[in-house]
């Protein structure tokens, strides 16, 4: 496919008289050296995962007082991890990973976003990776993109945004690719040449078309997934296939975490999707799983108390899930703030004890050797990195 593109490109330039430097297909032909063997996958959990239910701190006696039907602990089906925390029963498929040291979590984490508890601003802040010094609507570009900008030896293939929707975490100046598992494109050579001409002066369409023409010829069919977790599995399978090739960084999202009512059903379905995605990544990556870190992050946690509808409302501190052979699994990270009187944030939410960006930063430091000052100034402006939590194997 690439060969054919080049031939077409030459034909196209001769015919249309475009300048070679400006031609869209030019950039994609050169592959730069790869930035090492490690891989990072970020999964954005949209809608605010209830960390207190996904990873239940049942060792805190206050949990039972705040929640009657949710986070019911190991006596009622949750899976004890370490005598203090228990895994939600629907994450049981991931228990073997915990036992093998390939699954970990950090509790009581948050972005610097506070008080308004809007999903959309919360997600924007999470993906932008910035502090509160900029109004939310002025934040442009995501932190994974800023990492690409400071990493040596990257090319567009290094990072993939996976899925139909835009991932703001990867937007920005550094080139990257995006594709959805179910997408396809076949054009006749003449149609392709004419389309390139038509898009030539419109960078938005030109770059997207270039990506589509190139990627559609390269990717192989990942096969049909079935059942309620099919979408999540397809995203993961496609991500794994790209990470097995030139890519080292990928991001996709899993929606459906906003459990204001009937949380056991809503959260159960979302956890099924997350577990299926992680297992599919593991299966698809094969031996490369050993050099992979997966961070599953959400915009904020949910209220410590159960609400009147068997659910929880928007909160502050939440949980970060980590998986992969590159993770030092089987460990609970982070300081537990307690759920007692005076220990909650604003009297209602889990108090964050560490910035979630610090974990992402330490992962980037360990996986890709990004230096401390770049992490604190460029990628996560204003972040105090603090000490290494040691969550990489």
């Amino acid at each position: 496919m690439l060969k054919m593109d080049r031939r077409l490109f030459l034909k196209g330039t001769a015919l249309l008289g475009c300048s070679a430097a400006a031609h869209p297909l030019m950039n994609s032909i050169t592959f730069a050296a790869l930035p090492g063997d490690n891989r990072l996958v970020v999964i954005i959990l949209r809608g605010a995962m209830d960390g207190l239910d996904a990873i239940q701190p049942y060792g805190d006696p206050m949990l039972r007082k705040l929640r009657r039907n949710l986070s019911v602990g190991p006596d009622n089906g949750a899976l004890d991890l370490d005598g203090f925390y228990a895994l939600h029963p629907r994450l049981e498929p991931l228990l073997p990973l915990w036992q093998k040291g390939e699954l970990a979590f950090a509790h009581a984490v948050s972005t610097p976003y506070r008080d308004k508890r809007s999903h959309f601003d919360g997600q924007d802040v999470l993906e932008a990776g910035t502090g509160n010094d900029l109004p939310v609507d002025r934040q442009v570009g995501g932190w994974l993109n800023r990492m690409l900008q400071v990493m040596p030896g990257t090319s567009a293939e290094t990072a993939y945004s996976v899925g139909v929707e835009q991932m703001k975490i990867l937007t920005g100046k550094a080139a990257h690719l995006s594709w959805a598992p179910q997408a396809s494109l076949t054009l006749s050579p003449q149609a392709q040449m004419l389309l390139e001409h038509v898009y030539h002066d419109d960078p938005l369409f030109r770059d997207a078309a270039q990506g589509a023409m190139q990627i559609s010829g390269e990717v192989s069919d990942i096969g049909k997934m079935r059942g309620p977790t099919a979408d999540a599995q397809a995203l993961a399978a496609f991500t794994a296939s790209r990470l097995n090739a030139e890519s080292r960084i990928a991001a996709f999202s899993i929606p459906g975490w906003d459990s204001h009512a009937s949380q056991s059903a809503v959260l159960g379905r979302a956890l099924d999707r997350l577990a299926a995605a992680i297992l599919k990544l593991r299966e698809g990556l094969g031996p490369n799983w050993q050099s992979t870190a997966v961070l599953a992050m959400t915009e904020f946690g949910r209220t410590a108390r159960e609400n009147g509808s068997g659910g929880t409302d928007h909160g502050t501190g939440g949980a970060l899930l980590m998986a992969g052979g590159a993770i030092r699994g089987g460990h609970a990270f982070g300081d537990w703030p307690g759920l007692g009187e005076g220990q909650l944030y604003a009297g209602r939410d889990l108090m964050p004890t560490r910035d979630i960006r610090a974990y992402a930063a330490w992962a980037m430091h360990g996986l890709f050797g990004i230096e401390r000052d770049k992490l604190e100034r460029t990628i996560f402006p204003g972040l105090e990195l603090g000490s290494d939590p040691g969550m990489l194997a």
């Binding site: 601003d121 945004s161 835009q166 006749s188 003449q190 369409f205 078309a209 009147g308 509808s309």
Partner: protein, 455 residues
Amino acid sequence: MSFGFPELAAIRLGFGLSPLTPPPADAETVLASVARSGPDPAAMTTAEASQIALSFRAGVVARRSGKPEPPGSKEAEQQLASMPIEDLRRRVVRAVDDPVGFGERLVQFWSDHFTVRAINRVHYGLSMTFQDEAIRPYVNGRFEDMFFAADTHPMMLVYLDQISSRGPNSVLAKRRPERHLGLNENLAREALELHSMGVSAGYEQKDVRELAELLTGLSFSHKGGFAFQQAWVEPGAETVLGKSYGGGRRGGLDDIRAAFRDIARRPETAQYLSRKLAVHFVSDDPSEDLVEAMAATWRATGGDLPQVYRVLVTHPDLASNLRKKVRQPFDYCVAGLRALGVRGKDLAALDRKVFNRAVWEPIRSMGQPWWQAKGPDGWPEEVEAWIAPQTLAARINWSLQVPRMLLKELPDPREMLVSAFGGTQSAELAWAVPKAESAAEGVALILASGDFNRR
């Protein structure tokens, strides 16, 4: 080539030009056309939607207990299963046929502003009624009426969990302490954050909380319909944004309506919604001048929408920002069908499987699955959110495949270049179209072009 207001209005305010109808002559024609976008007289009502839901449920219950299904339950189930695609089809039919399109674009805008989503099949009917009961009657009226209608409509009460919210000190909560009944803040938060003032406005968690308390009592069930339950109400007055509501025994809906009216008329709401309209119709980064002119009219008229639309339609920014926006997938497919000369009745007559391949599946691949916005904030506006390799591939595929699927004879691409753009096309496109290998590829080039995907 030259073009004037009619072409501009068709492309930017409607669903593009059509070989079948001339574009609107002037601003008055555009504004007058909105009156045509009222409710469909034949549309399903909430009561009918509930009948279908109950019938379907009765069938499920019977099946579970091994009893024969009551008459009508199978039909109800089939009707529910086809509702999402049939809802899309009726929306496309009206949009394709409307000669101006501004009213239908506004219906799309406001339906997205008040995004609802039926997660469970028993609520599909409500999702069908939402637009005819809560959006279309008010699209040419006052914002406060739409705000109240949308946020108290059964579909919204279900979607944003209001039906499970109870005053913690309500009669019911006191009577049944073992049920631990309490508030659900979801609707109250989105009413302020998304539906009116915007997240940057100066409201606080306390306002969300008190509005949530004021909203207690709103209820809906398929059996009981919409009702105000006095026993669910949190007693006492609630202070929202410094104003006190309720507290007397007079109660419920009137107090809620008063609060919505006050919020709708606030300057923050005027600003937030004027900007949102300008972003949708003009540019992702609209000028202060345009937004302020609309907001000033909003403030002066208390949110009289036709007068706010007038500012938008007659503002010079409309011309100076041509093609700054990208057509969202629904708008894109409607515009494509119009440009191909397809009529609403042809679409209405299509086999459902063909309509599925021609519109339902394509808009999903383009990133806008019908009835499935990810959250209550609806679809994104930024052009970058819509044009990426995977979604542009879907648009190019549509351009290549769907015209041949729907038309016996394709238009001559050179004629279509004129009828679809009215002189607004770029030199690159005019150069390329006649060089296509076939009519199919010429038509595809037009529909896949940046000129056509932008507006």
